[in-house]
Symmetry: C2
Subunit: 349 residues, 2 copies
């Protein structure tokens, strides 16, 4: 059995609130929003149906006073497996783990490049939504009045090594190009494009750069660093994109590691099936992280810029026991715990 | 014995000609140019004395008509050792070599990061020259009239993995920042800086990104590709820099591989001690490459932008037999030829 939910959402921002699909979040649905909701049981039926959100945010709204205070309670999030190993290694010696993690590099059997067709599906599914969003919300006249729109700068936050980021950037470029062709905001028909591929410092940019199409229609650049920090100069981007990345929170909530806290997660690597307090601790961390992300991007985007985010989600309408996510992650967590214990035992010898 | 020549040069561009030190090149010396010339024999006496040129070019001059036609005969150049191996593998099967090469990656014993203190010396030596050049030639008022100067964008062409590029970028940033502080071209005292580290696609950007100072005062980005191609959008850079890189020509001159040509180099990997025709073939290739480089940068720099180039050179006043370069490279070439022959012999078995 394979069951998952597909929720795609693409909305504009009401003046001072962020609208995200009501099926998942307690946020109000924006009046111009379009909600799509599909739930499947049984074998995966279509590659184009995936549990992702697409949120379009026009930053002239978000930059208004109090905009960021209305984020409310966030969607449920994936967990940071590596960080969750911490409770296992709390013996005499501290095992140093890097602060940031990236997908497996290279293009071998276990690389992200060879194991990300699921994530590619999200990009495929979002193509039409991005097209609609750019057509209806990207205001080239506003853009060109507030900044230069040549070159048109696009950034992918959490690009990994490809090939998905290359597909996503190509889609955005074509859609924006079409917009320029139809609206002709300047005498020059089509601007040059500069595409920034951004991911953690430990991301394998070498593989990414080597997989760039030789005859691409954009100037490419890589930017290394956490998207929870500032990565670009103020007002220097026209389009920000992120797919299958914002589910990675910046750090483990401290309380889930504290055996005296009601939110203690007993070394488990996920919140599903855990106590309400565990869920709330993850939720609070995600809310904090998402706000940090949005604040950083608000600085980096030009006035009138556009952002499209694809975030893996679990719908509230499903009990956690109805999803395969829980059992899959519990199995994975159990393996990781065993491995961590083995390392600890070996070190004690 | 250790002998080498130190030549540093920093000149402005006369209206339609490129001035480079007359000690090395048949170009006229710019009227504002300052030539420094030192020749040492014996053990290296000072890390700050190296055979490098620093050329400052204000692109409003170079962009004028016929500017690129006056490049004249170029300096003598280093060779591309890998490319020069081609004559050794001209047997029945073609051994595919990558089109581009980069310095050794990582930070191990044989990495560029651990074996580039000589190249660092060039950057150290150029510091004062860059300072003088920025002080006297970077026209912030002109710059701010033709483009936005915030963020101020700097690019290093041929950055390799560090640490030299980090030092160079820091020097340029500080010098430009000082200029802003003293001239105050806008109401905002200091702009944000965006620094682009550029090198071949096969360069080890992973090592470079991991060695970026965490508390840097600039937004960093990596750009992969040959600097003999366009790498940036039109008019998007304020300062272009290159050090110890332009000595790498884009390809071997064909005639030196042709046994029927008077320029045939008999499989040797350098022009020194070879026929006049060999030297001229390398010279012509360098002239072509440098013009390609300058044309690409002319498109990428904003009007009023500045460029500083440090190029390893051999002075004309020395006979090739007076330099150690020849004997060192002949020894290296002999080893490489032996290795290539061994590979060929093994493959024939």
């Amino acid at each position: 059995m394979y069951s998952f939910a597909s929720i795609s959402y693409f909305s504009s921002l009401p003046p001072s609130s962020l609208a995200i699909g009501r099926h998942v979040l307690p946020y109000p649905v924006g009046e111009h929003g379009i909600a799509r909701y599909t739930m499947l049981h049984g074998p995966r039926q279509s590659r184009s149906r995936h549990p992702h959100h697409v949120i379009s945010v026009q930053w002239r709204d978000l930059l208004s006073p109090h905009a960021n205070t209305s984020l409310g309670r966030p969607i449920r999030v994936n967990i940071n497996i590596d960080q969750d190993l911490k409770p296992c290694v709390e013996d005499e010696r501290t095992i140093k783990l890097p602060k940031s993690y990236a997908m497996n590099g290279g293009d071998g059997n276990y690389s992200y490049a060879q194991n990300s067709s699921y994530q590619r599906g999200a990009v495929d599914a979002a193509k039409e939504l991005i097209k609609e969003g750019v057509a209806s919300k990207l205001d080239l006249k506003l853009l060109s009045s507030s900044s230069t729109i040549n070159p048109f700068r696009i950034a992918d936050f959490g690009c990994s090594t490809g090939p998905n980021t290359l597909l996503a950037m190509q889609i955005i470029l074509e859609v924006v190009e079409q917009k320029f062709k139809s609206e002709k905001p300047t005498t020059q028909l089509i601007p040059e494009f500069q595409v920034f591929f951004s991911d953690q410092v430990l991301n394998d940019f070498n593989t990414l750069f080597q997989s760039l199409p030789p005859k691409r229609r954009y100037h490419a650049a890589g930017v290394a660093g956490s998207f929870y920090d500032r990565l670009f100069p103020t007002a220097s981007l026209h389009f920000a994109f992120s797919s299958s990345s914002l589910s990675w929170i910046s750090d483990l909530p401290e309380e889930i590691l504290d055996s005296k806290s009601p939110a203690w997660n007993k070394g488990r690597i996920h919140y599903t099936g855990g106590r309400k307090e565990v869920y709330e601790a993850y939720t609070a961390q995600f809310a904090k992280d998402l706000e940090t992300f949005l604040n950083a991007r608000a600085e980096e985007l030009v006035v009138g810029g556009l952002m499209a985010l694809l975030i893996p989600t679990v719908p509230n309408v499903m009990n956690s026991s109805e999803t395969t996510t829980e059992s899959e992650i519990d199995l994975l967590g159990s393996c990781l715990m065993d491995m961590a214990k083995m390392v600890r035992n070996v070190e004690k010898l």
